[in-house]
Amino acid sequence: MNNEANCTACQSLGTPEQEAQLHAVIEESKSTPGCLMHILQEAQAIYGYLPIQVQKTIAEGLGKSLSDVYGVATFYSQFSLTPKGKHRVSVCLGTACYVKGSDKILEEVEKQLGIKCGECTADGLFSIDSCRCVGACGLAPVMMIGEEVYGKLTPDKVKGILDSYREEQK
């Protein structure tokens, strides 16, 4: 709980623009049946993740309890309750990639970034996730960084790819 109290993002709704966007999404969708998932998806697009205060605001806007909203937000793997890196690395662990050694790709990414799958680097530049099939099985094993797909990977290619994002930062 201490962490939460110290975290400004948990108490505020971000910038005024973000807050206005969130309220607009809630207003626009709240009369549509089954709109909660859509609103959470939009909210995540605005904030990058779903801080508890955002979930509270959505719950109030829809006249639902926080536990309802939290229940949905934690059920689906797409939703994240913690911030993600600027570059989101997602290594495919679907079957086609797995049998072509994607577990070794994930190990290498973890080694290169010094964090585990599901974590974010201290400088906020990278986060790692695993995913189940992006559908580019012809290029297995693959990983995505943001929207970009990298295929036919081997562990020795990983460093160069990550470095290109670090360069871009400089």
């Binding site: 909660l36 998932m37 079957t95 086609a96 049998v99 012809g138 290029l139």
Partner: protein
């Protein structure tokens, strides 16, 4: 739009599209009637987009402009199927199939082939189309395409996926026109029933019966849903249909709406498929503009509209009741059946749910008739099935074959066999709900019932090929990790059963298994099958049971000999250096991440430097030493 306007678009576009379907000689004659001397199709599916087909497309358009070539039509299509060779580009009317294109290759093709009087650039073609004597065969004659029969994929890789006029020209909405203008709802349902079409999502329930039940349910509000939440990792059939021919799904859902008396449809699609979602949105917008969705469709008095709902990454939402719960905006947990969705489904109203591939079969059934459709396939499984071929196979990609084709034909002929000279070990069908079939079952004719009888299942169409380097215990552990992770937690047999199965399998892969564990697995699996609430839990033990049945020796090898033949299970591996072969170059030690390799004082006869050895206590079994040794001195046991 009226029927006459629809027919006019079709007439205007038909010849252009037929050029892409006919054999070379006929296509060349027909091409003269169109405004384009040549047509270049570039694949814009996810596979080719990932291998940068967008740059290829942009470069193609730019180079054509630079060369002042204005009579060549460039078309961005969906998937051609042969994803390994992407980006793919096909030139009509000659049907030249260019593979693994780069911007430089594009320039060569434009300057040598697409210019007036140009000739095919043989060295850039898919080499499967070039014979030993230098002659070129149509790609439809290559082993990959020859045995295929494209019904669901009829327009994929043929039309521009973001252009409704191309879709209409290719025959989309013709069945809707026929249904609304000349068939009663009962006649539609009868046609689908008699075609013998069974649901392509996995379970194989007769589609016509589903529709019949929903029509019989009382109520003025009903729903039609499309399951595009393709969760089986390694399967991408539905995605390819949505990317290549989204209108065929919209059309079929509208037909079903007419048949059961529904006016609203929902497509539940994975958010992980950005291209498919985008094309669906474009398609729905265009269909509304053209009066093919919305009020008074084609002026024939029927109202129907479709909305998209994005999934958020939950495998269980592929189960029909869970999917509906998710569309309602809740946690996607399944509900007990009965009541079945046809009676009480989405928002508690009668609902039918079919998957994308099922919908893709509706237009041909209406247009060509139930009799034609039921003449294809086996006695109890009619039509074709699309498979996503993946894993250890030469031609990774998308194939559509008549039901009854054998696994051997798919893997050895269409798929081109196992690469790198390795031996086939197993074919996995049905994903986390299916099983593995060994070499002795390769002549099994694929249909719904045969696969179930062999301990696997059709599933949605993922077909992963495994070779001698894959450990079957590890593969079942992989699937159990998946189902344990994806179990929604609502019912105990699945929530706890998957975890316990996973623990037992982990134990075996770590060399700590006992013979009793195999009995426990068997017993637990039977309980889960019998008592789980939905198909996820009921089928989760299948990967274990089928491998235990066909590959029991591998399990026993792990348990009794602490040995993993495939060399996958790390805890059972041992790396050693053959002192006689080691020349002492030190590449292994230099690359070892754990500093586990040191020099000995032994110099083998004929070598100048002392050999190295591995400290097994420090070794993390990553195998880097082995892959760096050029002298094959590192052994894995």
């Amino acid at each position: 739009m009226t029927i006459q306007e629809l027919d006019a678009i079709r007439a205007r576009k038909k010849e252009l599209i037929d050029v892409r379907r006919l054999v070379k000689e006929q296509a060349e004659v027909l091409a003269k009637n169109t405004a384009y001397r040549k047509q270049v199709l570039v694949c814009g599916g996810t596979g080719c987009t990932s291998s940068h087909s967008k740059q290829v497309l942009e470069h193609l358009e730019k180079t054509l402009e630079e060369e002042g070539i204005g009579d060549v039509l460039v078309v961005k299509t969906g998937c051609f199927g042969l994803c390994t060779l992407g980006p793919i580009m096909i030139v009509y009317p000659e049907g030249a199939f260019y593979a693994q294109m780069t911007p430089e290759h594009v320039e060569t093709v434009v300057r040598r082939h697409l210019i007036p009087g140009g000739e095919i650039v043989k060295e850039l073609l898919y080499q499967g189309t070039v014979m030993d004597d230098g002659s070129i065969i149509p790609f439809a004659e290559t082993p990959f395409y020859k045995k295929q029969m494209r019904i669901a994929l009829r327009n994929c890789g043929v039309i521009a996926a973001e252009d409704i006029e191309e879709a209409i020209g290719a025959g989309d909405y013709q069945a809707l026109e026929k249904v609304l203008s000349s068939m009663t709802p009962d006649e539609v349902i009868n046609e689908v029933l008699e075609s013998g079409l069974r649901g392509r999502g996995g379970a194989g329930f007769p589609t016509g019966r589903k529709w019949m039940f929903a029509k019989a349910s009382a109520g003025d509000v009903k729903y039609v849903c499309c399951n595009a939440d393709e969760g089986d990792p390694g399967a991408f059939m539905d995605r390819s249909v949505l990317e290549g021919d989204p209108h065929c799904v919209l059309e079929a859902m509208t037909i079903a709406g007419y048949a059961i008396g529904a006016h609203q449809g929902y497509i539940y699609v994975r958010a992980e498929y950005p291209i498919a979602v985008q094309r669906l949105k474009i398609a729905i917008g265009q269909a509304r503009e053209h009066g093919l969705l919305g009020k008074n469709i084609l002026g024939l008095g029927f109202d129907f509209d479709i909305d998209i709902r994005l999934g958020a990454g939950a495998f269980v939402c592929g189960e029909e009741t869970a999917l509906m719960t998710s569309i309602e905006g809740n946690r996607g947990e399944p509900r007990p059946r009965p009541p079945f969705p046809a009676v009480k489904g989405l928002f508690e109203k009668p609902t039918i749910l079919n998957n994308v591939e099922t919908w893709a079969n509706i237009n041909p059934i209406i247009m060509k008739g139930a009799k034609w459709y039921s003449s294809i396939g086996t006695e109890r499984s009619k039509g074709t099935k699309v498979f996503a071929l993946g894993g250890k196979i030469t031609n990774v990609g998308l194939v559509e074959v008549p039901m009854g084709t054998t696994l051997r034909e798919i893997i050895e002929e269409i798929g081109g066999g196992i690469p790198n000279g390795k031996a086939f070990k197993a074919a996995q069908t049905g994903g986390p709900s299916g099983g593995c079939l060994p070499a002795s079952e390769l002549d099994t004719q694929i249909d719904f019932d045969n696969l179930v009888a062999k301990g696997s299942m059709m599933g949605s169409g993922g077909l992963i090929v495994l070779d001698e380097d894959d450990c079957m215990v590890d593969i079942s552990k992989f699937y159990l990790e998946f189902t344990a992770d994806e179990s929604c937690g609502k019912c105990t047999p699945c929530r706890i059963g998957t975890k316990r199965l996973l623990q037992l399998l982990t134990k075996i892969t770590e060399g700590k298994g006992t013979p009793e564990d195999l009995e426990k697995i068997q017993e637990l699996a039977e309980h889960m099958k019998a008592s789980s609430l939905c198909a996820l839990g009921q089928s989760a033990p299948n990967p274990v049971l089928s491998t235990l049945h066909h590959f029991r020796k591998e399990y026993e090898d792990h348990i009794y000999n602490h040995h993993c033949e495939a060399g996958v299970c790390k805890a059972l591996l041992n790396f050693t250096i053959d002192k006689e072969k080691c020349i002492g170059c030190g590449m292994c030690a230099k690359n070892c991440p754990a500093s586990a390799i040191t020099r000995t004082d032994y110099v083998a006869p004929g070598h100048k430097l002392a050999s190295f050895e591995i400290d097994s206590a420090k070794c993390v079994k990553c195998g880097v030493c082995q892959s760096n040794c050029k002298f094959k001195a590192v052994e894995r046991k």
